[in-house]
Amino acid sequence: MGIEIEQPCVELSNVAVSETHGEDSPYFAGWKAYDENPYDELSNPSGVIQMGLAENQVSFDLLEKYLEEHPEASTWGKGAPGFRENALFQDYHGLKTFRTAMATFMEKVRGGRVKFDPQRVVLTAGATAANELLTFILANPGDALLVPTPYYPGFDRDLRWRTGVNIVPIHCDSLNNFQITPEALECAYKDAEAMNFKVRGVLITNPSNPLGITIPRSVLEEILDFVTRKNIHLVSDEIYSGSVFSSSEFTSVAEILEGREYKNAERVHIVYSLSKDLGLPGFRVGTIYSYNDKVVTTARRMSSFTLISSQTQHLLASMLSDEKFTENYIETNRERLRKRYEMIIEGLRSAGIECLKGNAGLFCWMNMSPLLEKPTREGELKLWNAILHQVKLNISPGSSCHSSEPGWFRVCFANMTEHTLEIALQRIRHFVERIRTQTESV
């Protein structure tokens, strides 16, 4: 028998061993529970229903119809010539046709109220990469970005992990429907200073995730004034801009800039993606639109690490340039999302649960604080656990979104059939009744 000599373990980096990826939070834990026992209408009707994933599946048929009617989109026409250029084409400028198509589509989504220059479109493999890339460009390690709460849990990873940048929250609460106020902005800035962080920018999501509301024009103006005063950047993640239930209710920061004749625009950068509005997260298509030349140049170069497949660019270029298709899609998608939203609001209301009045997105912001045993984070997590394991619904607790008020939950409604949504609503109704009866009998 030999003697075992312990081998020295080869070390990994701090980034590799850090927990900043945040994947140990309940937001992700719920997903694991779903993965282990996923609901299926036929084969597993008592499984966990996934309501924690903001995915849009309501308009697939429109996409399929387009591809069926336009087979040349997915081929390169007959023969190799188009293919030759495409297969090798790995220039980080991206296919010009695709960049132009993206700019056009973004204009359509904003009702033609703004113009986007294809030269300012930088392509990335998803908005996740776009947000991280912008953070690398706008801030040094140790600096801070101000982000309104509650916010998308993924930001903790996307904005902080490899970049070493900090997030300082801009606190918003239910008293004014979670709107961002100038006071809250100033407060956050001071908080950052107190922590010795240099603030480099404000990052907003408009329409908001997880709130499901658009930011009013007046608030956007205030935010723009704030970042101008402080001489910092503004990143507007408008990934849900095409998922606003009514077009007139969304104002993009681009519109405000155009109104101001692009004064001070060099501090503004817009992030967009096809993952939500077009329901194509698997395609990995994101963009950065910047009004700052240096940022565009730098982002382009850095996008080498996150290029979109030329095949995908080609596939989508023709689709997104097809006016008839995009207009119809945007309108139909909006309408369907609105109907879904109304369905879930009604369903929740009949169970005695109120939600924040929303007008966009693939989810609603649900108020379950009356059901909390204790109005604390622990109370919220306890309720969340019960909902996950007893009711078998995966929803996202507000604490994972850094909400300062316990009891709020994000519930997604667009990633399932109507039937499944009905089932989910039934389960919630029964659960709430059970709790009410329990509380009453005590």
Binding site: P8, V10, E11, L12, S13, V15, A16, V17, H21, L53, Q57, E64, E68, P71, S74, W76, F83, R84, N86, A87, L88, Q90, D91, Y92, H93, D117, A125, G126, L138, N140, P141, R157, R162, H233, Y262, K263, N264, E266, G279, L280, P281, G282, F283, R284, V285, Y291, N292, D293, K294, V295, T297, T298, R301, S304, F305, L307, I308, S309, S310, Q311
Partner: protein, 525 residues
């Protein structure tokens, strides 16, 4: 083909030389700052005046920029065209412009690496047989165009089915997929690599993380294996892109281990040892060795013995090895490629320090599709890399298409046979023609380029002479080749010339253009 990537060289060197700082005052500041920041404990008499001077300059600079409506763009790229409604985009009237990060400032500067400058020159005036016969011929990008016809035919025959499936069910490819790649593609890639790298190599799909090209694969590994300020040892000459992949965002340094023509640019362990000890003396923590095998730009293959020696070295120092094997399938000589993975079978070897990077850009000519792989035997690295791959995932329809292509075993076999033959043909012809011009190449058996010795043509025998020759090739001969200095080669006069971006028939044209330069060099001497 057009450029893909941008600047590289050492930030410190660039800072000192770069003339594009916006005011000449900064030329004074930078060396002063260097002095001030160099060591602690400077006499106050030096420190205070320097600080005052610095603030004075800063104040003056700010005053100048308010008066300046349109500060010149530091980028060498054409300024972005503006519509009239955007004419106010520049900092008109603003006193302090909003700042970007240090990293971004560094990256936004004009390219200094001639590797990228050359790519840029081609993109402005690209050769085309019919439309632009006097344009610049691209011989500076290791892309394989020789067998695109085969791939194109396959795609034309199979695309519809392989991407959206029968019935056009988009449900499969639209939703979120696992970020580190579909299992089907991992399995297909595993099989493919098995074919390419030899029978004894078998990669378990569970040891693989897929990324959008080999470029992010190298970057992700750099993030996982080293901290900012650490270093990897890298044999020279090396692929210029490493400077970007490893230095930019991970902030890891690359310490060259110089290889010489006397050894046909093969690595020798003594040089490795020396580089390691010197780094240690300077207080730099070496975390790993980065090799490309087959080598880019030389095109030689590491022997099994050398691979064992490397492993022993890494074991002894307790560091990692990253082996970039993207050209594994592009061999044409008689030597057989041996993957690092092949020799890992012994029990005494700690597999957890070995990480292999592969991709389909070279061997399958699919650079535009962005398909790369990290193969690691270290569970923690795999776990971290999986999470990081979300920033660089492969597009789902492309994963489907490529899975389908790789599963067509007959096609893959035919492709490889034909590809090998064509590369060999073009290589042999090209190297032969070059030697008739008096230009010898290093002995190579893989890759898409030859490593040509032009030291007889440069005057003086230095980097300066080499750069002048490079410029001659670009302006007189209108061909873009990569000078050895961009690859950090210690001996001046070597150039990497890619031959897979031209056809056999175009070789005489290229040779003729090279002859012009050779003649011009001889006549001027």
């Amino acid at each position: 083909m057009t450029q893909t990537r941008k600047p590289s060289s050492k930030p410190e060197a660039r800072e000192a030389q770069n003339p594009s700082f916006s005011s000449s005052g900064m030329k004074l500041i930078v060396p002063l700052q260097g002095v001030v920041q160099g060591r602690g404990g400077l006499l106050l008499g030096t420190l205070v005046p320097c600080a005052l001077f610095y603030f004075l300059q800063l104040y003056l600079k700010r005053r100048r920029s308010t008066a300046n409506c349109n500060p010149p763009s530091p980028s060498s790229e054409p300024t972005l065209p503006r519509t009239s409604s955007r004419s106010n985009l520049s900092a008109r009237g603003s006193i302090s412009r909003v700042r970007i990060s240090r990293l971004a400032t560094q990256i936004s500067r004009p390219d200094e690496s001639l590797y990228y400058v050359g790519l840029d020159r081609v993109s402005r005036d690209p050769y085309h047989a019919l439309d632009n016969p006097d344009g610049v011929i691209q011989l500076g990008l290791a892309d394989n165009k020789l067998c695109l016809d085969l791939i194109g035919e396959w795609v034309a025959r199979n695309l519809e089915d392989s991407v959206v499936g029968t019935g056009l069910n988009i449900n499969g490819i639209a939703p979120y997929q696992t970020y580190d790649g579909l299992m089907e593609l991992k399995m297909a890639l595993s099989d493919f690599m098995h074919q390419v790298m030899g029978e004894s190599v078998k990669f378990d799909p569970s040891n693989m993380v897929l990324t959008a090209g080999a470029t992010p694969a190298i970057e992700i590994l750099s993030f996982c294996l080293a901290d900012q300020g650490n270093a990897f040892l890298v044999p020279t000459p090396y692929y210029p892109g490493f400077d970007r992949d490893v230095r930019w965002r991970p902030g890891v340094d690359l310490i060259p281990v110089h290889c010489r023509s006397a050894d046909n640019f093969n690595l020798n362990i003594t040089a490795l040892e020396q580089a390691y000890s010197q780094a240690r003396k300077r207080g730099v923590k070496v975390r790993g060795i980065l090799i490309s095998n087959p080598s880019n730009p030389v095109g030689n293959i590491m022997t099994q013995d050398m691979l064992y020696s490397l492993l022993d070295f890494a074991e002894e120092k307790n560091i990692h090895i990253i082996a970039d094997e993207v050209f594994a399938g592009s061999t044409y000589g008689s030597e057989k490629f041996v993957s690092l993975a092949e020799i890992l079978d012994s029990d005494y070897i700690d597999k957890s320090r070995v990480h292999i990077v592969y991709g389909l850009s070279k061997d399958l000519s699919l650079a535009g599709f962005r398909v790369g792989v990290i193969c690691s035997f270290n569970d923690s690295v795999l776990a971290a890399a999986k999470k990081l791959s979300r920033f660089s995932s492969i597009s789902a329809p492309t994963q489907r298409l490529v899975t389908s292509m790789l599963s067509d075993k007959r096609f893959i076999r035919e492709y490889f046979e034909t590809n090998r033959k064509r590369i060999q043909q073009v290589h042999d012809e090209f190297v032969d023609c070059l030697s008739k011009l008096g230009i010898k190449c290093a002995k190579s058996c893989a890759g898409m380029y030859c490593w040509a010795d032009m030291n007889g043509l440069i005057r003086p025998y230095s980097e300066k002479g080499e750069i002048e020759l490079w410029e001659k090739f670009l302006s007189i001969a209108k061909i873009n080749i990569t000078p050895g200095s961009s690859c950090h080669c210690i001996e001046p006069g070597w150039f990497r010339i890619c031959f897979t971006t031209i056809t056999l028939e175009e070789i005489p044209l290229v040779i003729e253009r090279i002859r012009r330069v050779v003649e011009s060099c001889k006549s001027s001497s």
